[in-house]
Amino acid sequence: MMLSTPAVAMAEDQAVPLLQLKDLHIRFESPEHTIHAVSGISLSLDRGESLAIVGESGSGKTVATQSILGLLPQPPAVVQGEVLLDGTDLLLLDSEKLRKVRGSRIAVVFQDPMTSLNPVLDIARQMTEAARTHLGFSKRQATNRAADLLARVGIPDPKRRLSDHPHQFSGGQRQRICIAMALMCDPELLIADEPTTALDVTIQAQIMELVTNLKTDLDVAIMWITHDLGVAANLVERISVMYGGRIVESGKTSQVFSRPQHPYTAGLLASLPGVSRGRRLKAIPGHPLDARVVLDGCDFEPRCSLRTSKCIYERPELESTGDGAVACFESARIEEVT
């Protein structure tokens, strides 16, 4: 159904995109070594648009999103570049102004619902905190809104359950609560950091369906972080694939799935059940790069079947290919990866 979604223009008209990352660099410095977690990523997201950032663990996707919220402890992290929300660089805001953005304009749903709710506080307290801080809601107003949202995410008998504690809910219910909690202040951007990874497959599907419906209803932009390309397929309009702290391919979901341009993306697709129907599933050989190592050439080169000598000595830049963008010298030979 996403295939029929009209393409969203990337800042071609006058409108400023909701979120823009410009040449974002993040590294962690310690006396022994420097880790380059993110090495110059740029992307943009319009209002109401949805984008998946796909990559294996260590690809820098979570660190990048944490830096958007200013949640990375600095030091040891060093963040350079621009994070523009509606044109304002969040990296330049003082901590108090940044705090007022967090939870009100940008909200997050974390990976593990079993640990991301405070076990000793009741749900009402945790859900109403943000609205009372940012919107000046009274306790009653905030509680009413919390009950509405709980009902909206499918928690039965929300008024009564507000006084329950997290351990009284199942994992899937807790993630629903986390989503409702994130929506309390009607954010413009919802960052979902692998919110289904810790859940059972059937629950995963329910949560994804819930988010898809919410997105349509609430007109909130969604940035979905995942290591699972399959999760992204039905959920988002565009996909950016990260490898070794860089974006190696981006494009519309339909395009990426039907015509991947980067050998890494192609490898990810080949390892998905269902997509490569009838063929044997293939794992990408080798391991993700050690973030302490800096290569001259392409980061994916050691694992790549299309590698040429050029790939070893020169780094391919992300270049527009009309509908999307890819960072690969050999993307013309992509058919050879299957």
């Binding site: 967090r102 939870g103 009100s104 991301s116 405070n118 905190e129 943000a130 801080t133 940012h134 504690h165």
Partner: protein, 318 residues
């Protein structure tokens, strides 16, 4: 919850019974008795006098009989009568109760507030200069004998600087007023409290570090809450459970400390009464105080468990 409390209270009855046997046994095994302490053996006719006195006090009856009549009285809230003064033990202890409660209560409050606060500061600034200084202070606080600390404080702040009185609860011969009691309370209160400041600080620090990097703290920060709120409600609130347990376990130690500190400062509480009772072989008073202290510990343990369930709703008692 109520069932749990009632069950715990019922369970403590056999325990108190065993304790009462131990206490009575101890008091009975004491060399000499009240009569030896009252009547000098050199006095003329002391043997006859002693025998008469023993008869009056019921000390010539078999041990079992003495125990059961004592226990019967205790069950009715009557702890017997002092061998020395003849006053009711219940009222003797009652008269001293307020002084001890004031001393122990304020000192405990002081050490909880200061200890928990310092522990939180120490943990939030882990590995900073402040943290190291506080850790060292914690070690010293746990290593200094209470009475030595008391003497040093008296030497410095009462004798050298003359800011506080050396002993007592109010100026000699004058009635207690709130101001005078507070003035007399400062030095013994701090002496009794410092050990627990150090103890609570250590455990609070460890407990806060345990939850400092929990996922729900990131959640709270991502909601844009004020730093104060995050620390108070999502870090300290979660660290309180284990700290409460330590506070509960510190109650018996606090009772021990109060005995020493009351002696150093001549604070007219139960501790001073206890030492006098031991020196005068006043068994009824002694037994009364030991029983009371055991009851206090049992109640403190129960309260701790109830409070634990209150701060950490995951704990279920059944």
């Amino acid at each position: 919850m109520w069932i749990y409390i009632v069950r715990r209270l019922l369970l403590s009855i056999p325990m108190l019974f065993v304790i009462s046997i131990i206490v009575f046994g101890l008091a009975n095994m004491m060399p000499g008795d009240a009569v030896t302490a009252m009547i000098s053996p050199e006095a003329p006719g002391s043997d006859e006098l002693s025998a008469i006195r023993r008869g009056q006090l019921g000390l010539d009856r078999p041990v079992i009989a003495q125990y059961s009549s004592w226990l019967g009285q205790v069950a009715q809230g009557n702890l017997g009568f002092s061998f020395i003064t003849g006053d009711s033990v219940t009222s003797t202890i009652g008269a001293r109760m307020s002084a001890t409660i004031i001393l122990m209560g304020t000192s405990l409050m002081f050490s909880i507030i200061v200890g928990v606060a310092l522990g939180v500061v120490s943990a939030l600034r882990q590995y900073s200069g402040t943290d190291y200084a506080l850790t060292l202070f914690g070690f010293i606080g746990l290593s200094i004998p209470l009475f030595f600390l008391g003497l040093v404080l008296v030497y410095l702040f009462a004798l050298r600087l003359d800011w506080f009185p050396t002993s007592g609860i109010s100026p000699a011969g004058q009635p207690r007023t709130i101001m005078s009691v507070l003035h007399h309370l400062v030095l013994p209160g701090i002496s009794l409290g410092l050990l627990r400041v150090a103890l609570f600080m250590r455990y609070t620090r460890a407990s806060v570090l345990e939850v400092l990097h929990a996922d729900w703290v990131s959640t709270a920060e991502s909601k844009g809450l004020k730093r104060r709120t995050v620390v108070a409600w999502h870090i300290v609130r979660n660290a309180l459970g284990p700290v409460l347990t330590v506070i509960g376990l510190a109650i018996p130690v606090l009772v021990s400390g109060a005995i020493v500190i009351e002696q150093v400062f001549q604070w007219p509480g139960i501790g001073l009464l206890f030492i006098n009772a031991v020196n005068q072989r006043d068994a009824p008073v002694l037994m009364g105080i030991v029983m009371l202290s055991a009851v206090v510990v049992i109640v403190a343990n129960l309260l701790t468990d109830i409070l634990y369930a209150w701060v950490d709703p995951r704990v279920r008692y059944d």
